[in-house]
Amino acid sequence: MSETAMTLFPLYAADAFGYEAFLVLGTLIGVAFGFVLERSGFGRAPVLAAQFYGSDTRVLKVMFTGIVTALVGMTVLDGAGLLDISRLVIPETILWAQVAGGLLLGVGFIVSGYCPGTSVVSAASGNVDGLVTVVGVVAGSLVFGVAWPVFQPLHDAGAMGVVRLPDLLGVPQALLAFGVFAMAVGAFGFGEWVERALGSRRGEPVPASQPRVRNRVLAGLGGASAIGLALLLVPGDGPGGAPGDAPPGAAPRHVASIEPLALAADLVERPWSLSLVDVRPAAECEAARIPGAACLPADDPAGFLAALPPARTLVLYAAADLPPPPDVGSRFTGPVAVLRGGFDAFRSAVLAKPELPAAPDAAAVAAFRTRSALHGHFTGAKTQAPPAAVPARSGAPAPGGKKKGGGC
């Protein structure tokens, strides 16, 4: 497990997509899960119950092949530095609660003929008993809540946090994965022996074994777990090493800079397009700030910024130039801009009275009119001559056509 660098997988933890996509992917993964369970025969209670009478160990075979496949796959990817297992959601160990819960669930399994997941598949394929089991599971969860005082002592008995067998036993993940594979092969052999032995004693048909298919699957899994072991031997590239192999994390955020006049124009024309935040110390900010700016609260500034609407450009400014990129905005997901020259520049550009142009050419007069209008708007001062100045309120033409940064 490489702790230092971001790994490619899991994609969600690497910020590849948002929460809503995460939920939608849940539906799609669920479709695949339900389809496989059904096609493996898990929508029918007699198939599942047969596990406990030794006549068909299909449950054991499907479940353990599944566990080994996922385990070996994760081990290889972890060894190759592509996956960080520690960033997966790992069930915590609450030993006694899980021992008791497991025992109870096993009893419920043979009573109903399903486990909670397979009862959903059974209901979906038209079985009324599956549907009733689903209702029972729902009711059982409610019973648990209602009878909480009874279960409370057991609920946290043996709580140990996240405990993984490699850490507990001090055995590398790859070796343990190979061990689980070997154990599974043994269990499959034993299961098939039981099927044959009981079948001949009871005079029942033995489930078709298809040894060629089985051997191919197991050979593939064995090969993959051997690769996991081999990766353990590669120096610096095995688990725990080689941060350099991991793909780089998120690219540094692009921080635009915005000119004081452009900001002033945006504040007049499109106040909804930006959130203006003053990052100077609170006292300075309280005394004088750009109209429309919010002072950055001293407690939890990052949380304040993260809560701003991401559709608006976050414009930050300090007294003078703010050294980009401002790390306080790192949790804000929308576009970020910094006011060039900070509050001082805004003051001299907008809040100070504009000088009449020395050489009255068209461009200078137009620039003066714009500045004058903005100055008037922000200070409340009467617009200076020339009197045909642009109206300060909405509808003002874009000043000088040099708006940049402020949008998008």
């Binding site: 209670a45 566990i67 909480w148």
Partner: protein, 172 residues
Amino acid sequence: MTQEKPFWNPYVGGFVLGLVLLGSFLVVGNGLGASGAANRLGVGAAYLVAPETVAAHEVFGEYAGPGKNVLDDWLVFEVLGVFLGGALGAYSAGRMRRGIQGGPRPLAPWKRLAFAFAGGLLMGVAARLARGCTSGQALTGGALLSAGSWAFMMMVFAGGYLAAPFLRRQWR
């Protein structure tokens, strides 16, 4: 009616199941589950009936209450998918029809359904206690080599084998 398709070879089914589980780990970072969604469904139904009681409840209040959407959870979406996928699998294999599953000497329907409900009830309590069921603990936690999940898995088999002799009439 067309012929039912046979079930997949269990090793092939397990392999594909493992790939789905691996895909879930790689993409969203968590494994599969089922009972968590049942819990949220139950709490949600209870919230519709008695919102104040549920919101103030020690256990249920964690899931439902003002400003909380009880169904806003990955497992709820995943189980919706399990239902759809299970239906697609059954229909495309010619296995979808209304019926009650049982052993070679079927019980009276009401008895079989009573067993199904009772078993579900036990599993609902058990899954809350163990923080998951065969999918969320045994399969997912097993593949993640979580110590508690392996203990849970062994106990599921133990419980099943212990209780099986008393339920021969239902299944054999």
